[in-house]
Amino acid sequence: MSHAADHHDDHHHGPATLSDGFGKWAMRWISTTNHKDLGTLYLWFSFLMFFVGGAMALVIRAELFQPGMQFVDPEFFNQMTAMHALIMIFGAVMPGFVGLANWMIPMMIGCSDLALPRVNNWGFWILPFAFTILISTLFVPGGAPAAGWTMYPPLSLQTSNAFPMLIFAIHLMGISSITGAINVVVTILNMRAPGMTLLKMPLFVWTWLITAYLLIAVMPVLAGAVTMLLTDKYFATSFFSAAGGGDPVMFQHIFWFFGHPEVYILILPAFGIVSTIIPTFARKQLFGYDSMVYATASIAFLSFIVWAHHMFTAGMPIAAELFFMFSTMLIAVPTGVKVFNWVATMWRGSMTFETPMLFAIAFVFLFTIGGFSGLMLAIAPVDFQYHDTYFVVAHFHYVLVPGAIFAIMGGVYYWLPKWSGVMYNETAGKWHFWLTTIFVNVTFFPMHFSGLAGMPRRIPDYAVQFADFNMIASVGAFGFGFSQFIFLWIVIQACRRKGEAATARVWEGAHGLEWTVPSPAPYHTFETPPVVSDAEVTAVHDEPAHA
């Protein structure tokens, strides 16, 4: 087969770079089947979307800086809210995690690539097209979707020309996620190096395995839900219209059957990253490995039976409300186990605080605060007060920004030397961390107060008594946003190989197969399965490395 023969080439000469000419270089990225290339593409895409979604958040925060309408039309504001969330969730966080999975899973379990490399390429390249469709809705008559990322009908059915574009963009993202998830599952189940038993896998691999199952189970449900929206609008069906015997609330049930597991899709890989970083810098094995695995699985299981906690005010039979309240509260138990295990890992360790560790510690602290507010939201009678206020906005930004986003950033700092072969600038990293952490709290902490005091979410303008907190939040948001340019700079420097050369092990306390290959990791690693030594995958390393 000629295709297979080409493979030979790149193996010997390495992948094309810009110096080989633009065409060759572009073709390399377009056609690559290499998990590291695709990981890089995913991560850059994610970064780009983070800025785009973030810029939209800044539009929101600018308008909310003070009461009164200053900059945008309310309709445009609603478009920003919906697009911000869709882009952040589907464009920034999910591809970010997939990028890390692409890079790290094969290196962690000792295989040459993902199980289905061409499908992997497909899964990535769908995304730029899907987001082109989604973002171009801003320019069609009637503007972008403005019914929130939750797209509740009947409001979402009032979307004009953007409507089918939204639906198909989501279908495409769904295809991307499902193919990506199948790839991860198959890779983990089928491609582990001999000796890499399931219970020796790094937790990042475990959490991704479980995340992938969640994705396979719920992305098709989202596809079904939006398909029903499409037919309700264009083909006269009445799934969500009482006149025909349907129910608008039915959409919410289907959506949240997807949506709640989705929020754990956005956090489980983060748990995995944090569980990897903390032991490294505590120089101590992860406490309670097995219980971490069981806790992750329990969270995933529970995530399927709690969805209606997003709908307490939509109206449900009381038995259902009680059930969903109790089941939601239960999630605090396995999540608590994880938090306690992280703390126990730090306990009597020998800690140092490089940037990845700082992000991991901030994650444990701030995510838990977000978890506490989640628990408060779970209490149905009180959720009647919290629901659709900024208290909810505060909750989910605490779990998403210092949760998911911090974990991704920590992961990037942690593995960047392995990818690029150079140490990032630690001083700049610390600046980035501290500014980000301070501003994230300045941005989102006041939202608890404005929410409790009665400020609804998704409003472009508000009563004057909410002015102070909003002003603080807006200042924080701009500070947070601009701090990210430090991160951008750091990553670009690393890509340009500017910095001190990194050792193979990189971090003193790091262990796992990925640290046994040189830095930067060669284009192809583990083409023949490595020998997995127990010392490597379970014990702490004491050989000296980059301090």
Binding site: A5, W122, A242, D247
Partner: protein
């Protein structure tokens, strides 16, 4: 390295490939076509056609490539396992897609219609007075007007028999293949395809009947919605199944597969059985109950 046949100790990593990108580009064009059509901007037809042709071409190219690699002996046992796992989980994702629509059906029957019909007394009194819960129903506003349903024990039952029979003939073909009886394999495969095709024919006829005589349409309230969406998506899957069956049949005719290595064949079988099982669910919950 990859040019050697049947490498058992090295996992096959395909060379860089432009197929996925081209497939996505074609999908992108297709989406533009459909969007243009739905929005009535008159931009739809050409991109739709180009898109469909592009997608089909790319799927064909891609699968031909995979078949060639497989026949070229590039896939070891591990790759075989990959495809098994992947196909299994792909089918699971399809199950979940159908689950969304079944969920809609159950929700409408168990909750929304009874609520509209008086289980939520206020709804019934204030908004839809006099509406009573029945099934089938096109809702309190009787959207689409009075309609009749398709009796379960006519064509649908026949169709159930056809699909179940096709599952059996497929298994017979599988046994024959394992015993290397190519002739018998082909015969059973042709029978399977024929049964599938007849199923589709009846299904189409049923739709024509529904639209032209029973006034049962997509617009017939929640009954019409769930009926056509469930049977429609199922029908699309049968169509795809028939195409895939045809492809593997042709491959058998070309002498592809061995008695112990024929996963493409089995994968199509899994898919076909899945379509079969969904139909049984449909028959019970859409037609009978």
């Amino acid at each position: 390295m990859a040019t050697h046949a049947a490498i058992e100790d090295q996992y096959f990593v395909p060379a860089p490939s432009w197929w996925p990108f081209a497939l996505t580009a074609a999908l992108f064009v297709l989406v533009h076509g459909i969007v243009g059509y739905l929005n009535g901007t008159g931009f739809g037809t050409i991109p739709s056609i180009v898109g469909v042709i592009g997608v089909i071409t790319m799927v064909v190219v891609w699968f031909r490539g995979v078949i060639a690699e497989s026949e070229g002996g590039l896939y070891g046992a591990q790759v075989d396992r990959t495809y098994r796992w992947a196909m299994g989980w792909f089918i699971f994702s399809e199950v979940m897609f159908f689950a969304a629509f079944f969920g809609a059906l159950f929700y409408a029957r168990m909750y929304s219609l009874p609520w509209l019909g008086g289980d939520l007394p206020a709804t019934n009194e204030v908004l839809w007075s006099g509406f009573e819960f029945t099934w089938p129903s096109n809702g309190p506003a009787a959207l689409g007007g009075a309609f009749e349903t398709i009796p379960a024990w006519g064509i649908p039952f026949l169709n159930t028999c056809l699909l179940v029979a096709s599952g059996v003939t497929f298994e017979a073909a599988h046994h024959a293949l394992k015993e290397d009886k190519r002739g018998r394999t082909l015969a059973f495969m042709v029978a399977t395809i024929a049964l599938g095709a007849i199923f589709l024919f009846y299904q189409a006829e049923e739709y024509v009947e529904a639209y032209s005589h029973l006034n049962l349409t997509l617009g017939s309230g929640i009954y019409g919605s769930t009926f056509f969406m469930l049977t429609g998506f199922h029908g699309m899957h049968v169509t795809l199944g028939v195409i895939m069956l045809t492809v593997v049949t042709v491959r058998i005719a070309f002498g592809h597969f061995t008695t112990d290595r024929h996963f493409a064949f089995e994968a199509v079988g899994w898919y076909w059985h899945f379509v079969d099982v969904v139909w049984i669910g449909l028959f019970i919950f859409v037609y009978v109950v």
